[in-house]
Subunit: 177 residues, 2 copies
Amino acid sequence: MRDAGEKNVTASAGRNELPARARRKRAGNGAARPDDADEVGLDALVGHAGYAVRRFQIWIFQDFVRTLAAVDIRPTQYSVMTVIGANPGLSQMAVAKRLGIERARLVHLLDSLERRKLVKRIKSKTDRRSHALHLTAQGELSLTKFKQLAAEHERHVEEKIGKANRERLLQILAGFT
Amino acid sequence: MRDAGEKNVTASAGRNELPARARRKRAGNGAARPDDADEVGLDALVGHAGYAVRRFQIWIFQDFVRTLAAVDIRPTQYSVMTVIGANPGLSQMAVAKRLGIERARLVHLLDSLERRKLVKRIKSKTDRRSHALHLTAQGELSLTKFKQLAAEHERHVEEKIGKANRERLLQILAGFT
DNA sequence: TATTGTTATACTCTATAACTATA
DNA sequence: TATAGTTATAGAGTATAACAATA
């Protein structure tokens, strides 16, 4: 059981096999090529989790951006505000570590959120190198709205892959959060 | 059943709830903050598929790059070579469409692969605007090696999330390939 | 010496627009 | 006029290195 089906990582699997139609087209005529995307076989890519995950991630981020376009908030900005909201007083290093963002990049993200009066940096009294991060009053209010829109986005995901599959996905990937 | 558990998209779920220890730390003392990443709660992010998928995708790409570092091939380069190998004669537009890559970006990817003698552009006789893409003999040979390493990477994924989970993931996301 | 926040650089990737040569 | 390939630009994101202030 454990050793079965190892080969199909690199072998073409049934569903995405190059369609017979496309094969025929090219067989008799060197010039004819498939012009429709669905006639192009993916070969080994079919068996790669990373390829599927990347395509899905692109879709999901685009839907997130689209759904929150009215409030002009991108996924990373949302994650930063959510973590600060749940852990007020956090340092920049702590946020960066928790979210896997480079601390250099977080500087710019916070600059932008601070300009928009959603987040504020407060000098720490115990360690004067670091900043305590807080949402502003407006930030708190805005985050509530962002979370509503993010929940709407999440429903789009559910519609796209199904409620049970979405939950299974969260379970499978829980270790990476 | 269909309407149950809708709220937990924005509510903190059990597993990633802010630990009592961290909450205690901050309760009596405004200055104390969680310094360890695992003491920082994620709040609404826990319920977002996009967040888990993004973190997983980062891990999986890093492992792919690491595993294929000896041959200096990145995920996108691998996907381009695999599709050309399986569909020789394809135009740049067809490859770009199939993989969801901007055609402007594919130009640079192909420049790089062509410099390395892995891929060649051949002027089409039927449509002089377009190029027929082929692997070189060396490209064919190299791709075989790349596929072996990619299969090794895929085994890392299996070790990380489990064989059954990896297969379930591929099933759930099959529609995005 | 080490760490926090910052600035800077380089490279990948996404998203556009515009140009050329064909069709 | 539309399309294939190309060039260019701008912004997000990743990966580094180096610096000042502070620990």
